[in-house]
Amino acid sequence: MNPIPVTFSDMRTNAAGIIAIVALIAVAVALGVGISAQERAVRQGGNVAAEPFDVLIGAPGSTTQLLFSSVYLQPAALDLVDGEVLRELAGREGVASFTPIAFGDNYRGMPIIGTTAGFTTLDDTAPLVEGTTFAGLYEAVVGHDVELALGDEFTPVHGMIETGEEQVEHEHDHVHYHVVGRMARRFSPWDQAILVPVESVWSVHGLGTGHEEPSSIALAMATEEGGRAEGDEHEDERAAEHDHGGPVALGPPWSALHIPGVPAIAVTPASIRDAYVLRTEFRNDPRTTAIFPAEVLLELYALIGDASTVLAVVSVATQVLVVGAVLLAVFSALQQKREALGVLRALGAPRVYVFLAVWLHVVLMVLVGSALGVALGWGVALGISAILAERTGLVLPVLITGKEIGLAGVLVAAGMILAAIPAVTVYRQSVSEVLRS
């Protein structure tokens, strides 16, 4: 028994209507699949980006802003954490490692982040893909996707992003960073960042290096301290004087009398217990706040989850409406097809044959519509991820998993069950009555 020729011929004669119905189903399924896949992509992408950050310490203020600025490098003016905190962390129990995150400059829109050498390799867990980490004050390690080659030199521009407004930004004309290494891919905005010694960021802005040794810069600063306000240009000159000059200690501990502040400090605790102790203590410290990025992300995901739940409900409602519309369309078409189906019976087709012909008609539409919907949802989610990646640097991996297939599968299953309604109607109709009418 093979009713497919009848089903196909019927579809061919109503191609426009079939295409419209299949498109409706596809859009309804794509909505659900796209939302599900996109939400997962955001979660996964967000988690991957936050992985290197166990505990973040910042100045009191918005924890969300601290997260977005430090982990996702979103431009924002954060208050600085007192530099004394860096001194305290250096000798503190329960701290495996820590690194300041100092931003404020950019090169061609790519943020320049002052940090420690250890952070460029995540303490040797993510070796550089080329070159070496920075060992000199004006050496730089670029993010994986930064379009600078080893040996290139560049001059930083003040400001975290390129605005093009001369009043807001200016070049630190006399500072030239030298690219010495490239980081492994982090699947985050850090792939578009340029990492330099935090000492250089302090130095470029006339804040010394944080170290006590009598460097030329520190001396110069000491002599002029208090005698200027926003004299960045002069500071650049002094920095340039120091550029590639004598050796400067890099990395903790910083021991200068006055250690400059930083927007954020990433801390790797020695243990999970230490992580909670650190968070509590630095939250209670009036100078600081502390967060687990993963925890803040969970709160954000809960908000996203609420929104996506609403969208998922809308999507399911849309699918129910579409399936209802499909059934109505099929019932309407059945009135025109009754005679043809009666002729099939008269020619000797068993009742189950006409049942299957009608059932397959609905099921094929739902099946094809659902398959296209999965592909469409995937494509749309990929597109959105690409746009988000372009705008934020976050890599949002869109995957179609069993969950999305399951979403489409539920619709197909519902279609298979509901398709039986018109099919049974046809199955039960009297051939002689149909032919006579």
Binding site: M1, S9, A346, G348, Y353
Partner: protein, 226 residues
Amino acid sequence: MELEAIDLRLSFPQPDKSVQTVLDIERLSIAQARTVGLTGPSGAGKTSLMYALTGIQPLDRGTVRWGDVDITGLGQRECDRWRRINVGIVFQNFHLFPGMSILQNVTLPATFGRTGIASIRDRAKEVLSKVGAPDHRRRVETLSRGERQRVGIARALLLKPRLLFADEPTANLDAENAEQVTDLLFDLAAEGTTLFVISHDRRLLDRLDTSFRLERGVLSDPEEAA
């Protein structure tokens, strides 16, 4: 093998709750390979009789036999199968399936059971050739009325039925096509198929072995051909 109807009665309830008798036939026997015609006014029950003889129309009472097979006693599935194997039907309005080619229409009955299209394709081309149908790849909606009726006849002949029923096969055809279709039906009858034709076409009826007239469900005595 003989087709035999005994004590057929069929009635339909009317909107005014009265009952209209559609068939009231004491006995009808059609020997194998005979050509039989049925005529009568509109509403006389001609199509109902055809459906009753093919097992499509359930009866109030009575028996239809094909040889030893009691058609009226068969279950739905067995009756469908019997009709598929033994009966060919040609419709006045052709009842072909748009969206299919000529060949697909003709091979359609092979999809009802286990025969399968592949094994019957050569047979389909053979009957299409016999009825003079055009290129079998053409879609049926592109055919003229005469061509459609030829395809309808080819479909009815596909599984070599021993009973061929034709309901007004020439009613929708012009004179030339009507004559060609009539010739075709009689060619088939000459090969041993029992032919039962409902028609008002005098030229067709005159060539049949026997003709009955049906009025208000009651059959007249047969008119034998001269």
